[in-house]
Symmetry: C2
Amino acid sequence: MAKKVSIKDIAAAAGVSATTVSIVLNGRAREMKISESMALKVEKLAEKMQYRPNHFAKGLRTGKTNTIGLIVDDISNYFFGHLAKVVEEEADKKGYTVMFCSSENNEGKSRNILNMLVDKHMDGYIIAPTTFMLPELEKLIDEKRPTVLIDRYFPDLNSNYVTVDNFNGSLEAVNHLASKGNRKIALVTNDTDQLQMKQRIDGYMEGLKKNGLVFEKSMVKKIPFGWPEQKQVKELAQFFNKQKADFDAVFFTSNNLGVAGLEAFSNLGISVPEKVSVICFDDNDLFRLGKPGITVMSQPIKQMAKKAVEVLVRQIEQSGTEASHIILPTQIIERESVR
Amino acid sequence: MAKKVSIKDIAAAAGVSATTVSIVLNGRAREMKISESMALKVEKLAEKMQYRPNHFAKGLRTGKTNTIGLIVDDISNYFFGHLAKVVEEEADKKGYTVMFCSSENNEGKSRNILNMLVDKHMDGYIIAPTTFMLPELEKLIDEKRPTVLIDRYFPDLNSNYVTVDNFNGSLEAVNHLASKGNRKIALVTNDTDQLQMKQRIDGYMEGLKKNGLVFEKSMVKKIPFGWPEQKQVKELAQFFNKQKADFDAVFFTSNNLGVAGLEAFSNLGISVPEKVSVICFDDNDLFRLGKPGITVMSQPIKQMAKKAVEVLVRQIEQSGTEASHIILPTQIIERESVR
DNA sequence: CTGAAAGCGCTTACAG
DNA sequence: CTGAAAGCGCTTACAG
């Protein structure tokens, strides 16, 4: 490794103490009434000597890292990938870098990564929480560490969160399907306790009710989280095949499920929208550009990410603000999959 | 914040010195001949008191962070998102977390983020480099910081890298097109100095030559990096429209370009593969599941990521190994877009 | 087998 | 206006 320039080296070069250098370099020269000329001299020297403050020493004293921890289910997922991108962009604008982990919706990993991030002293956390994380999350909030939950939250946990109106979005999706004359609307969702999924299911139920359609348990398929895609496709193909005669539309509660579902339809030779209407919560390239285009209930991903960073940074920089609960509206994008 | 348990607290509780605690907790008890019973006592106590080592103090002494820095163009891109996912998985298995940044192929950001990561003392770096980064990269290598380049590299820079055989992959793509009788093969690529793109272009040229096709400059369209998708679509639509009569196939050198291209075709009412054959470097969900399925030259993303982490961790943990140059083969996946 | 002491590079009262 | 000193929490020679 190269010779590291420390504050002492600058102090020596400038003929002042380390204290003075530290003050100047932290922009407190005016405040501490360091002479203009001295301050300038130190700054010039720091630049010339290519001084870079030692992150550890600084952190050890101040606890600050200018780093945000981001936990998502899976960074390769369209939704989370795009979320992460905007989080990173916005964070960067405000001088933070982001460290990310995928929880993979897995208990062991969920609990671990949060501890790891805490050990590394993130200044704040943006988390798409799994239910497994609740104890760690409670501790986090308890210790007043800046945190914002994203995509879902825990009603009993007094934390910031940014989500989407899952209930009404799903309700609208069902309304849309019903308005086109679909009567037998199947639901494909994940087998999970996560709130956003529960809300989407509730919205579906309410949608059926509002449209005078009866709910049938056999019309609902729940896929466990984290299954490899091909396994999902198989399972869905089986489900669709059995139910074949019995439904005219399917509402998918996530974009991953929708992709698997379309693959299953394709394998079974069931054509969309001729044989079955499809609507999906959340968008992606396939839905947008595939043939037929898939009608979706889209989420304002960019806005979610922006808001999350904004709320988080506010909390980091002026602690003690009240919890923000931000619920953004979804928007239907009609394409060709509903008949 | 909660009361932080330090090594001193444990030392006090155990009635030994901090030195002993440090030794035990670093698993060097045997080596230092600490008595079994003492070691056990300290370990138990550390656990009971929920001791977590202070990352800064440790880093300040040892320089180790157990963190890998990952720089990609854009985390929301299918290729990089999937790459990042596997990098994170593999890193996690080996006890590292990953900090990521998107370079956005932008000069200012490119140079900045690398410095930021270095300031935060990553143990190693996995980088899809932009040409702007070359000076910083040279410094990195000079200082012997563990680094592996991914997706592309600099021939004159003596670093580890993991890529794909871009030249032969592209050559094969053109061969495939030609073997089906396509004679006028257009190329859509990015306007960039990056090596992987150059290699793909070279592969295309060689492919034309090998198949006795003449190269025409007017058949090549270069799109600047980082344009918003809709701008790309417009530009491509214009290009395709002008060239309409004049080409029977298009080779896209990246999956992003392919997506924009398909959208342009769709807007123009040019049907694939009836009017034009399409082949694309790199895969995604749209290509795989859209109608028609797009024939692609796929990259072994998972393997690339695994290799990168493997090489990097090896270098971190036993410095001074020789530079690894890993070039993985691509594989054609035939679907329905080539006629 | 175990401990006292120095030091990693900062920042921050405190003093003058 | 500026400096000497302590201390953040570790690890590592050195000593016994």
